[in-house]
């Protein structure tokens, strides 16, 4: 029996040493999972998930502290991708339906040039300076709506982007039987 105990002890210490060595030798810097999750997120930095930006949310999901269905701009696509990446079950979006993308537009009649919105924009999409007219650079705006709240005169509105034939997407075929488009009179 003593030999059995001795054998166990030797094996345990050997494997323990091996594991300890590997943990130090093969330690991975940073958090590759968080990087992968961050790469999936749409980078609008809007904070609608409850975290101050996309990177903090990615890190929270990597630590399993946050559910995968919180990203609003990402919509269903991000939920499905994260589910696939992390081996979790897809869950419906917390916020319900996908919201249409919108851009911020400053009403130039009302703007007082206070620069509060410029400080709020996470991607520096607002052009302007103190006491000068502010305007949103439409091509850089991600639609996060963080500029709407700070504006003291409420001159920023989120205008939904219309579709144009170039960006139009074929709809997912409905499963319910639908009627044909009918022509009335010639």
């Amino acid at each position: 029996m003593l030999t059995a105990i001795a054998a166990f002890a030797v094996l345990a210490s050997l494997f323990g040493l091996l594991l300890g060595y590997s943990a130090i030798r093969f330690h991975v810097k940073g958090d590759p999972i968080a990087d992968q999750i961050d790469a999936v997120l749409p980078q609008t930095q809007c904070g609608q998930c409850g975290y101050p930006g996309c990177r903090p949310y990615a890190e929270a999901v990597a630590r399993d502290e946050a559910k995968i269905n919180k990203c609003v701009p990402g919509g269903e696509a991000v939920v499905l991708t994260l589910a696939d990446l992390l081996g979790k079950d897809p869950v419906p979006l917390e916020s319900g339906e996908d919201k249409p993308k919108a851009l911020a537009v400053i009403d130039e009649e009302e703007c007082i040039g206070c620069t509060l919105c410029i400080q709020a924009c996470p991607v520096d999409a607002i052009l302007g300076a103190a006491k000068q007219m502010h305007t949103v650079i439409a091509s850089e705006c991600t639609g996060c709506a963080l500029c709407v709240a700070p504006c003291p005169v409420e001159c920023i509105h989120m205008i939904p982007i219309g579709e144009d034939p170039g960006s139009w997407k074929w709809p997912y075929p409905a499963s319910v039987h639908h009627p044909l488009p009918q022509l009335g009179t010639a």
């Binding site: 749409p42 980078q43 205008i159 939904p160 960006s167 997407k169 074929w170 075929p173 044909l180």
Partner: protein
């Protein structure tokens, strides 16, 4: 691969995988000779009728334009010129419904015709094109706005410039017209074969091609006859050959026709020029010949009006920009109940909600299908994995697997099964016993994949900007701290009494700095406005506007109002 031999000429033919036989329904519309459609009251000419950037308008509202006059120029290399199809006055340049499966609108130039159909001054014919620099001929083709008229509408001057490292040996003329009902190419070949062959001759000269294969399906004997005669009388009679191919769908697809006539396969994600082949539709060649030899731009095309929902199915020569409503009237109007209006053929065309959409350069056919011809497909049943779709796929894909993954929205997996090799011919959906709308799943997967690609790029860009901003803020913070440190050093040498003076004032202001700042700013702006008003000067941007500026403002206001109502409606619905 098996080889066939054509009956008319001794040209070796190959087969492609899959494909189906369809009833061709061509006799419906080939019974009458082609007539010109009447000049419509208003021409609606979209700026985007081709692949590439939309054209840029050269005219303004109120201008009088003549037939064949340039009204929009190409933007960038892959773009095309647009001409007025008849003489008249430009009444608007605005969004109108365009022929597109979405039913959305695009910017169009609206011309109210004056009925005179007066030609503009046209450029000189280039009869001696063989002696000219090929770039001059290509420039004429570009000027004339020639685009692929088989449906793809790729700018021809770009296609005819494959570059020195992609020599073209064979020109393939696509007269196959494999989709049921459509017969415009058939009639063009019957009536204007000489023009088509002259166009082929010009293209062969431009490319330095050695031979020319003209592929025509065997259900068009008159066209084959006419084209053979035209070849025999032309200057390419030794290098051109009319090849009769079996009537089979989709033989008219560019990749499939190349395979049938040369046995070669266009590499995936590639173009035929990579294998030394170039394919042109007969309509494109005819338009090209008119442009080079007569100086006429592309302003009309043959369009088939067919289906048993049309009173008198026929082919018409139609001016670009004619509303479909006028064409239907010219063909005797609609008959019967519950018809489906389709632009294009029954296999690849899309439904139209409105008859007001105009004919574009790529529109080859308008169908009014009765419920017998196009019955309600009914609910889609479950896929029984019968494999018939894979049997008929001309691209030799596995439509079944693509369907399963597209249905579960796993777009990466769909692309693994070569989604972008799908030519959307519709053979798979046609044979599916469960009546699953397969082509719609693939179209959904393709557009969704492109959109996601776009979003990914935008996200990467946004991330870069965000990180740059964070870096900038940190840098500013560092600078501020450094300044503070310096200040502290300086202040620590000052006497303490000087600092005590600012104390009480500092606290009063600190109580409500934000509100006070806002009030102050508002007062400043109001004061400025009042001062200017006193001087009789209003805000610079709201007085002394030119009419066009006023118009722009009106358009912007309209758009803003519409967007706001849409936003409030959306908010109300949520």
């Amino acid at each position: 691969m098996q080889q066939l031999h054509a009956s008319k000429t001794r040209q070796r033919l190959w087969r492609f995988h899959g494909g189906i036989h369809l009833p061709d329904e061509k006799e419906l519309s080939t019974g009458r000779p082609v007539t010109g459609a009447p000049i419509p009251a208003v021409l609606t000419i979209p700026l985007r009728q081709h692949i590439g950037e939309p054209a840029k308008p050269l005219v303004r509202v109120g201008d009088r334009v003549l037939k064949g006059q340039r009204i929009a120029e190409p933007q960038g290399y892959v773009s095309a010129t647009i001409h007025a199809s008849s003489s008249g006055t430009v009444t608007a340049i605005e969004e109108r419904p365009i022929p597109h499966p979405s039913g959305l609108a695009g910017i169009c130039i609206l011309i109210e015709t004056d009925g005179l159909d007066e030609w503009a001054k046209l450029p000189m014919p280039l009869d001696n094109y063989e002696d000219l620099d090929p770039d001059v001929v290509r420039e004429r083709i570009r000027w004339a706005g020639i685009v692929g008229m088989g449906g793809a509408a790729f700018p021809t001057s770009v296609k005819l410039n494959p570059g020195p490292h992609q020599p073209i040996r064979t020109l393939i003329v696509n007269g196959a017209e494999c989709e049921p009902y459509i017969s415009c190419d058939d009639m063009l070949m019957r009536e204007r074969s000489g023009l088509v062959i002259r166009g082929a001759s010009i293209v062969m000269h431009l490319l330095g091609a050695r031979d020319c294969l003209i592929g025509i399906e065997d259900n068009k004997p008159e066209a084959i006859e006419a084209m053979c005669l035209a070849v025999a009388k032309s200057d390419i009679k030794d290098s051109a050959c009319v090849c009769t191919i079996p009537t089979f769908y989709p033989s008219g697809g560019e990749k499939q026709l190349i395979r049938i006539l040369t046995g070669k396969e266009v590499p995936t994600n590639g173009i035929p020029a990579q294998i030394g082949v170039l394919c042109q539709n007969v309509g494109t060649l005819a338009a090209l010949a008119e442009a080079v030899l007569e100086g006429k731009p592309l302003i009309s095309r043959y369009v088939t009006l067919s289906g048993r929902g049309i009173e008198k199915p026929q082919n018409l020569e139609v001016r670009i920009g004619t509303p479909i409503k006028d064409l239907i009237q010219a063909a005797g109007g609609l008959q019967g109940e519950g018809r489906r209006l389709v632009l294009g053929g029954p296999m690849m065309g899309f439904t139209l909600d409105s008859e007001q959409v105009p004919i574009t350069k790529a529109a080859n056919c308008v169908l009014a299908l009765t419920p017998d011809e196009a019955p309600d497909p009914g609910p889609a049943l479950a896929c029984i994995r019968c494999g018939k779709c894979a049997e008929v796929c001309p691209a030799n894909l596995l439509p079944q697997q693509m369907y399963w993954y597209a249905r579960s929205k796993d777009l990466e997996k769909v692309q693994d099964y070569n989604l972008f090799d799908c030519i959307e011919c519709g053979c798979c959906a046609q044979v599916c016993p469960s009546h699953i709308p397969l082509v719609q799943y693939y179209r959904y997967a393709k557009t969704e994949s492109w959109a996601r690609e776009q979003e990914k790029r935008a996200a990467g860009h946004a991330r870069a900007r965000h990180e740059a901003r964070e870096a900038r803020l940190i840098r500013l913070e560092e600078e501020r701290k450094a300044k503070l440190r310096k200040k502290k050093e300086v202040l620590s040498k000052e006497p303490a009494a000087a600092r005590a003076e600012t104390g009480p004032k500092g606290t009063a202001v600190a109580q409500d700095p934000k509100k006070a700042a806002i009030e102050a700013a508002k007062k400043r702006v109001a004061a400025k406005k009042a001062a200017l008003a006193e001087q009789g000067v209003g805000p610079k941007n709201t007085r002394d506007l030119t009419p066009s500026q006023q118009r722009q403002i009106d358009v912007a206001e309209k758009r803003r109002a519409a967007a706001e109502t849409a936003a409030t409606q959306a908010a109300g619905e949520d």
